[in-house]
Amino acid sequence: MSAAAADTPRQIVAKAILTENSAARREVIGTLVGQGDESVAALFTAWREDALFIHSSADGAKTPVQLTGEKDSAGRQNALRVDDGQLLNGPDGKPLRLSASELTVVQHDRMLRLSMKAVIDLLDLAASSPAKRIQAVQTLGFAQDAEKLPALINRLSLEQDAKVKIALREAIALIQLKSADDAVKLAALKELKDLHTLASTDFIKAAQKEAEAAKKPELAEAARIALGAVENHRTAVNFFGTLFRGLSAGSILLVVALGLAITFGLMRVINMAHGEMIAIGAYTTYIVQNVFGSGLALSPFGLSFTIPGMNTTGLAYESYFLFALPLSFLTAAAVGIALERTVIQFLYRRPLESLLATWGVSLVLQQLLKLIFGSNNVQVSSPSYLSGNWTVFDVVFGWNRVFVIGFAVVIVFGIWMILTKTPLGLLMRAVMQNRGMASCMGVRTERVNMMTFGLGSGLAGLAGAFVSQLGNVGPFLGQNYIVDCFMTVVVGGVGNIAGTVISALGIGMADQSLQQILGNPVLGKICVLIAIILFLQWRPAGLFVTRSRSLDE
């Protein structure tokens, strides 16, 4: 079936709306492919958003309409006819004002939306954004519809952008794979070999099968070669991808473990509440996000109260994360300092008991978080500047990951500076090595202890702000990290920041490569643990042993 030549795109859409059968409806929509204008795109968008309706007049005539403009008190809006874009008039000739509740929504399903997309895709072939053009081209290519070929070839001659050109060549070749002409097929396979895109894999495989079935060795061979090229490319992508993922996994490990490297590594407090400090940082981020938005209501301990919001939107809203970073640090540091004053300070001489007390603290904090925020996870959305990615040669560099890597570098450098280049750092290290002697030299050990524990806790809080961008935020969030954190610090060598850095990166890399090789995250994790056990065989006191001559260290 083909639409009457006289029909405008709008009319075709109206016709489609009035078609009941969903397959038939898709076919009507299909006739729009390659034609149409901006209005069609707008209509389709409205359709997807349930803003198209069918108006039935008293005489039973059905008219597709779009509701637009301000709602009045009764919820009524202007109704635009879909077929001509004019206001719908009532029997009295005056424009009708309708409310959504009186009308029937035009239904749509997934396949219909795909058909609409195909229409829009062709519109998008000339879109101004290259990304949009690529998406359009790919959709057409994957559909392997010979009818679209001219449009694509035409576009290729006009196209300036290199990436879009590649996508166009790929799409053309994919469509040509379906050609009846073996020579064309052969050329297409050659082209695909040159392009070696990941997306072409399945299509080449299908072509290979077909060729084998049809006993066409030349084609099959060409397909095999093309596939080989794709697989080579895939190996390279996986290799670099794994490198990057290892780096980012290592950076996250580093960020979450750094605080522990201070409280446990430097201070020797076996701080089981480290995970909860991370959680506190994450919840702080959550609160800040809500304050930037519409506020937050909480009902801990049966009391209800509300934190008012600022109702910002757009970039102002998304800047919440920049404020959340320092605030997470400060909140967790404050909690850490309170903890140090009330519990930890009595345990410096009993490190193993610090494990028990801090475990108690961690239970209590988990319960408190649960009481305040509920046991469900809460929703922290990533600002747009953290949620995109760069894709270079099919390797995806997520911005959040890149940000974490950069951030890890910054805080490691910062900590290193504080500890080694400032008087405070010197005092911290002195106090942690020998509290009694440090106080005999006049160091205000209580204050230094407090600040050191505060720093470690603050860093954990900062890590919390980060993991809120990557994972869930809930009262038991800390439990997911605590084992890994201790492992990282211990493998690096307790009390050695440089060791922590290397061990975090090493574990991250090992984890990602093993996952890649074994194809199983659980086995990967087991292997990493076994590797750590073996590693400690070789270096029983971690990567960097800080040797001392005393008999009982």
Partner: protein, 375 residues
């Protein structure tokens, strides 16, 4: 703490008192309590509950043997507990036979454990077969965890891994094992583990008497282990053990191979934990990889600390009291009991470093101080 200037208390008198107290408690636990149950004065529920507590007490002793007496803070004792449990569990699974779910549904002609049917097995894998024998299974309760402990301990102590490194390593070991046991293809029941046991040594679990006998076996084991450890701590071995705790490096220069001593204790503790686990599983009715999680080991450490480290009564008291508290509070304060428990840990550590067992000493010291001031 005894003052160095005061005359040492005659240890033989003390010993006699101790033997008396232990004997009384042992008789109560082994004889009187089960009798009360048989007479209906103690509910079946409490028998199986106390059976579990006593298993936990055994686990706590094993932790204390390592941590309290030898200075090895193992965060992996739950692994051996679970391994023992799994060995017992394998036997119990094979004893289900025609009573299982698939068998009921007529889908299990060969009496395989249900999870195997589910994975498509029709015959029992070879390594499962010997577990039909109770004796073999009990031998495995000793052998498998013992072997794991020996190999791990050998590697760790040989390379002189100690302190927190040892702790973290044991934690990694048990975590690793739990991940492994989670895997279905290990053929150990995956995440569900073993459950739905029907009978042991011909006795059905539907009969309260079965639980009573399990309880008695546990109580006897506990008393034996207590006495054994008490004797051990008084030998020269016990002295070396504690010397290792206080100055491992120095011990070497007295000619003792610290690694051998540690290995011995580590294996011994693993065996105690394993036996505890084997006794635990029929009474609790389930064993799954969750029991190997590092948190479980940590919990056992907490029992020891709360009860009193480096004593033998401490871990027993700690394990029983915390678990009893937990049983009670999860019913009485289902929402806030962790708050209570967490708070308790903090308070004990801060104000009662010697644990519960140090309370009588504290009280008597307090009265002594008042008394001496007056005089």
């Amino acid at each position: 703490m005894t003052s160095p200037l005061s005359a040492p208390i005659t240890s033989s008198k003390r010993l006699k008192i101790e033997i008396g107290v232990v004997a009384v408690i042992a008789i109560f636990l082994i004889v009187i309590f089960p009798l009360l149950n048989a007479w209906g004065m103690v509910s079946n529920f409490h028998v199986s509950l106390w059976g579990k507590y006593l298993c936990y007490a055994l686990l706590a002793i094993s932790v204390d043997l390592l941590w309290g007496y030898t200075g090895l803070l193992s965060l992996g004792q739950a692994l051996f507990f679970s391994l023992g449990g799994y060995m017992m569990g394998m036997h119990l699974m094979l004893m289900i036979g025609e009573l299982g779910k698939y068998a009921e549904a007529g889908k299990n002609p060969n009496g395989l454990p249900d999870f195997m049917i589910f994975l498509g097995y029709t015959t029992l894998p070879d390594f499962w077969k010997p577990f039909f024998s109770f004796g073999f299974s009990m031998a495995m309760v000793v052998l498998i965890p013992g072997l794991v402990a020996y190999v791990f301990g050998f590697l760790a102590f040989r390379s002189r891994i100690k302190g927190v490194y040892f702790s973290i390593l044991t934690q990694a070991l048990t975590y690793c094992a739990s991940l492994m046991f989670f895997q279905n293809n290990l053929l150990m029941g995956g995440n569900n583990g073993f459950t739905d046991f029907k009978r042991i040594l011909g006795h059905t679990f539907a009969d309260p008497a079965t639980y009573r006998w399990l309880y008695i076996a546990t109580a006897i084991t506990l008393v034996l282990v207590y006495v054994g450890c008490r004797v051990l701590s008084r030998t020269k071995f016990g002295m070396v053990q504690q010397a290792i705790r206080d100055g491992e490096n120095r011990v070497l220069f007295s000619g003792y191979a610290a690694a051998h001593f540690k290995l011995f204790v580590f294996v011994l503790a693993a065996l105690i934990a394993s036996v505890a686990g084997a006794l635990f599983v029929p009474q609790a009715g389930i064993i799954n990889p969750e029991e190997m999680k590092p948190e479980k080991s940590l919990e056992a450490v907490v029992w020891v600390a709360v009860g009193g480290r480096a004593t033998l009564a401490g871990p027993i008291i700690g394990a029983i009291s915390i678990n009893a508290l937990k049983s009670w509070a999860t019913r009485a304060f289902p929402d806030s009991w962790l708050l209570i428990l967490g708070g308790l840990f903090i308070i004990v550590v801060l104000f009662l470093p010697g644990g519960i067992v140090s309370i009588p000493g504290k009280i008597s010291a307090f009265y002594k101080a008042r008394f001496s001031k007056k005089s």
